[in-house]
C-alpha cells in the first residue's frame, strides 16, 4: 500500500517539476487604459511580467483621475488630452491590483513572476 502511494506521489512530483519550468513571463508589459464617458477599459485584465521587468501604463481619459498600482503604491495622475505614460520596474513578485479612482474600477491585475 505505502509503496503504491509513494509511486503516485513521486510520479506527480515529476509531472509537477516538468510543468513549472516552462512558464516564463515576458520582460516587458504594457497596459493600455481608456476612460471615456464613465466607462473604463480594460475590465479586470491580467498582465504578467518577469521580476525586474518593465511595466508601462498608458492612460487616455476624458476626466482627471488617478491610476493606483497597489503594493507598489504608485499613483499616476492622468488628465484629459494627450495620453499619460508611466513606466516602472516590477521589482516585487506577487499579484497586485491596478485601479482607477474616478470612477472606482479595478482595471487589472499585475502579476510579477520571479
Amino acid at each position: 500500500m505505502m509503496t503504491r502511494v509513494a509511486v503516485v506521489v513521486l510520479a506527480l512530483l515529476v509531472v509537477l517539476t516538468g510543468c513549472s519550468g516552462s512558464s516564463k513571463a515576458p520582460q516587458t508589459a504594457t497596459m493600455t487604459i481608456v476612460i471615456a464617458d464613465g466607462s473604463v477599459s480594460p475590465n479586470g485584465q491580467r498582465v504578467e511580467v518577469r521580476k525586474g521587468g518593465t511595466v508601462t501604463l498608458e492612460v487616455t481619459t476624458d476626466k482627471a483621475t488617478i491610476i493606483h498600482v497597489h503594493g507598489y503604491e504608485i499613483e499616476v495622475q492622468a488628465n484629459p488630452g494627450a495620453p499619460t505614460t508611466h513606466e516602472f520596474t516590477a521589482d516585487k513578485p506577487g499579484a497586485f491590483e491596478i485601479e482607477t479612482h474616478d470612477p472606482a474600477v479595478i482595471v487589472g491585475q499585475l502579476v510579477v513572476k520571479s
Partner: protein
C-alpha cells in the same frame, strides 16, 4: 499625491496564483491520503479520554498573578493604543488600526491559539476591564445557546472583511468597533464571562482553534497533549459546527471575490457591488452548510438507534477545524508576515504626528519572503493538505463511535467526499482563474 488617499484595504498585495500543476498535485494527494488514512485506520475510537503529560510547574508559572496580570495589561495596552489610533489618528494608510484588526487580531488569534491554547480568552481585554465583577472569568459554563451568537458575529465580521465598502477607513471602522464593544460589553454585564465565550467572534474563533493546540487543562493542570486526542475527546459546544462552516464559507468567498473572473462579472453588471458581495458571501456559506448537512444526514441513516438524538453534524463539528487552519495558513501567511510588521511600525505613531512611542517607528519591513515564491506556494499546498489529513483522521475517530462496525466504511464515504470537495475547492480557489 501619495499618502493623501485613504487606503483601500489591508494587504495591497496577494500571493501569486498557484501553478496549476501544484493544484492538481495537491488535490490528488488529498484524495489518496483520504483513502489510505481511512482504509488503514482503526475500527474503535482511539481518543475518547483527555490525556497528556501534566506540567504542574508550568501551570504554577502561568497561573501566577504576576504573569497573568503582566500579560493582561500588555494586551490591554496594545488594544488601547489601537483604539487611540482609530478615534484620534489620521484616516490614512499609516493608521495602524486596520492592520491591527485584520492582521494582528484576525490572523494573530490563529497563531496564538495554535501555539498557546486558550490564552486568548484568558487575556481578553474586556475580561481585564471587567475583572472587578465576579463572574467575568473564563470558568463560567457555556450558556444553553452555545456558540451560535459567535457564529452569527463571525459572519458579520466576514461581511466587514470582504464586502463592506471602504472597510479600511476609520470612518467605517469606528461604527463596527462601537457595535462590537456594545455587543460584548452589554452581553457580559448581563450574562457574565460566558457571554464572551459564546458571542465574541474573536474569542469563539480562538477557543475553537485552541482545541487543536498541544495544550489542554486537565483537572486544572496544564498538560502537553496530542492535538488529535484533544479535538476528539473534548465535548463540543452547541453551534461549533456552525462556527467552522461560517469560517470555511467566508474563506471560500474571500478567494472567489478576489479572483479576476468575479471582479469582471461584478464590474460589468448593473447590480451594485455591495449586493453582489452580500449575496456571494451568503451563498458560499449556504453552499458549505448544504454540503456538510447532506453528508451528515446520509451518515445518520447508518447510526445505531441509541445515538440518533445527537446528530452527526454536531458531533463531527470539531473535525472541520483543521481544514479551517489549513485555509488560514494557505491564505494569510504572507499577509501576516508582511503586514504584521507594518502594524508594529505604525503602532508607534498612532496619531500620525511623526512620534515614536515604542521606538519601532523607524523600523523597516523585512520583505525577504518575497524572494521565495515557490516556497510560499508549497507552504500553501502543504497547509491545506495537512489540515485535510488531520480532519479526516479526526472525523473517522469521532464517527466510529456511533456507527455499526459492519457499515463503518460505507457510512463514512459521503462525509469524506465532502471533505475532499472542501479541500480541493480551497486549492482551486488559490489557483484563482
Amino acid at each position: 499625491m501619495t499618502g493623501l488617499l485613504p487606503l483601500h484595504g489591508v494587504g495591497s498585495r496577494s500571493d501569486l496564483p498557484l501553478p496549476f500543476a501544484l493544484v492538481v498535485f495537491g488535490a490528488a494527494l488529498v484524495v489518496v491520503l483520504t483513502f489510505v488514512l481511512v482504509l488503514r485506520s482503526w475500527g474503535r475510537a482511539r481518543w475518547t479520554e483527555p490525556r497528556g503529560r501534566a506540567l504542574p510547574g508550568l501551570t504554577r508559572l502561568v497561573d501566577h498573578p504576576v504573569t497573568r496580570w503582566a500579560l493582561r495589561l500588555l494586551v490591554l495596552a496594545a488594544n488601547v493604543v489601537a483604539w487611540v489610533a482609530l478615534w484620534a489618528g489620521p484616516d490614512k494608510v499609516s493608521n495602524p488600526f486596520p492592520g491591527f484588526l485584520f492582521v494582528w487580531v484576525w490572523v494573530g488569534l490563529v497563531v496564538v491559539s495554535l501555539l498557546t491554547g486558550t490564552s486568548w480568552s484568558a487575556l481578553h481585554p474586556v475580561r481585564t476591564l471587567l475583572a472587578w465583577r465576579a463572574g467575568s472569568s473564563t470558568t463560567t459554563p457555556m450558556p444553553r445557546w452555545g456558540v451560535w451568537p459567535g457564529a452569527l458575529a463571525l459572519a458579520g465580521f466576514g461581511f466587514l472583511e470582504l464586502v463592506q465598502p471602504d472597510r479600511a477607513t476609520t470612518g467605517v471602522l469606528r461604527w463596527w468597533a462601537l457595535a462590537w464593544l456594545v455587543w460584548v460589553v452589554a452581553g457580559t454585564l448581563r450574562h457574565g464571562g460566558a457571554w464572551l465565550a459564546s458571542s465574541d467572534p474573536f474569542e469563539v474563533y480562538a477557543s475553537a482553534l485552541a482545541r487543536i493546540s498541544p495544550w489542554q487543562r486537565i483537572d486544572g493542570v496544564i498538560c502537553w497533549v496530542n492535538p488529535l486526542r484533544q479535538v476528539c475527546s473534548t465535548p463540543a459546544p452547541r453551534g461549533l459546527w456552525g462556527v467552522a462552516l461560517v469560517l470555511l464559507g467566508t474563506t471560500a468567498f474571500d478567494s472567489l471575490g478576489s479572483s479576476l473572473a468575479w471582479v469582471r462579472a461584478v464590474q460589468s453588471s448593473a447590480v451594485p457591488a455591495l449586493a453582489w458581495g452580500t449575496v456571494g458571501l451568503l451563498a458560499m456559506i449556504a453552499l458549505v452548510v448544504a454540503l456538510y448537512w447532506g453528508a451528515c444526514a446520509l451518515l445518520d441513516r447508518h447510526a445505531r438507534p441509541e445515538h440518533t438524538p445527537l446528530r452527526s453534524w454536531h458531533r463531527l463539528g470539531p473535525s472541520l477545524l483543521p481544514i479551517v487552519v489549513g485555509y488560514v495558513i494557505a491564505h494569510y501567511t504572507t499577509l501576516f508576515v508582511l503586514e504584521g510588521q507594518r502594524v508594529l511600525i505604525t503602532l508607534s505613531d498612532p496619531l500620525g504626528r511623526g512620534q515614536n512611542w515604542f521606538g519601532t517607528a523607524e523600523w523597516g519591513v523585512d520583505a525577504s519572503i518575497f524572494e521565495h515564491p515557490s516556497l510560499v506556494a508549497w507552504l500553501q499546498v502543504a497547509g491545506i493538505v495537512i489540515g485535510h489529513a488531520v480532519a479526516v483522521v479526526a472525523a473517522h475517530d469521532l464517527a466510529v463511535r456511533w456507527l455499526p462496525t459492519e457499515r463503518q466504511m460505507t457510512a463514512q464515504v459521503p462525509i469524506l467526499a465532502v471533505m475532499v470537495v472542501f479541500t480541493c475547492g480551497g486549492l482551486l480557489l488559490l489557483f484563482a482563474p
